[in-house]
Amino acid sequence: MNLGGPIDKLRFLSARSSSRIRSCEERNGYRKSQLIERKLVGRALEPSEKSEQELVQRLKDKDPAAFEIFVRAHAGSMLAVARRIVRDETIAEDCVQEALLSVYRNIEKFEGRSALGSWVHQITVNAALNQLKKQKGRKELSLDPLLPMFDDGSLRVEPRVQVDQTPEDIVGNEKLRKYVLEQIESLPDPFRVVLILRDIEGFSTSEVADFLGDTVAAIKTRLHRARSALKKLLEPIWSEDR
């Protein structure tokens, strides 16, 4: 397989830190590139940005070697994003394939106003949301019993929960970690997707509204309900003697 020469590859890897480091940080890798992008305004380009521009130019020139470099650098993070949205390995891979080809076909439209990474992130999310729409409706849990409760006097009814565990403890415990992931997966799709896009993928509320073709107000309401329901579902895990 032609990788476009070792120098090209090296240059590209140093540009994006390395793909290995990226995949260790997949979760927030894209968020970082968005942050970097915001700092870009009004200063000279750094070498890494220059090599990204070069890669984009080569993609625009339809250079197959450049496309392979691009695929190898981005597919890992894209797959992680797609998995979180569609929850199915095969469908996630389909999304990534679709998104990568879409990048290739539409690279002309990439104007470089944002980092390539955040543009690709958006394309991946769109591909995953499209796949999700095609999936058959699954039996979904009702959020109502999980939402905050108030008495007749508008006073909150909130159980006292004993908290012994920190988020670190829970993430470090395989059983608890699995439980948390299952609870997130159990949320109805319209709520789960907003929670994932906003809290996990790090998009702004208005970006999420654009993705889903909804109003900012509607997204805010759904985000709050999703978080509230998840909070309720996770109540048992905070105390040690569950």
């Binding site: 990534v96 929960v161 996990i200």
Partner: protein
């Protein structure tokens, strides 16, 4: 006794100036956490937070839930193979060249 105290508290939240009920507090949570609440509303929100045990506990758990949600996926990424399946890459490259 507890019921009487609850009803007194509810009366305070509903009638005293600068006070909000827990239901109104609920509506402010998202904007409060995003830092987009205007100053006056933020002060009112924080007064309620100071006097209401239930809303304080609720908000603490709500914030911990968000934090946990963010961290939990770091774990999933570490447990999946770092590299992308080679057949996926091959399929994408093949699809690209056949699209030419």
């Amino acid at each position: 006794m507890a019921a009487i105290i609850r009803s007194l508290r509810s009366g305070c939240y509903q009638n005293l100036p600068g006070m909000i009920t827990c239901v109104e507090f609920e509506d402010f949570i998202l904007d409060y956490l995003e830092g987009s609440l205007p100053k006056r509303q933020r002060i009112i929100f924080e007064i309620h937070l100071a006097v209401c045990r239930e809303c304080r506990d609720y908000l603490t758990a709500y914030k911990k839930t968000i934090e946990l949600g963010k961290r939990i996926f770091e774990g999933t990424n570490a447990s999946v193979p770092e590299s992308v399946p080679e057949d996926l890459i091959a399929a994408v490259l093949a699809a690209r060249s056949s699209a030419e």
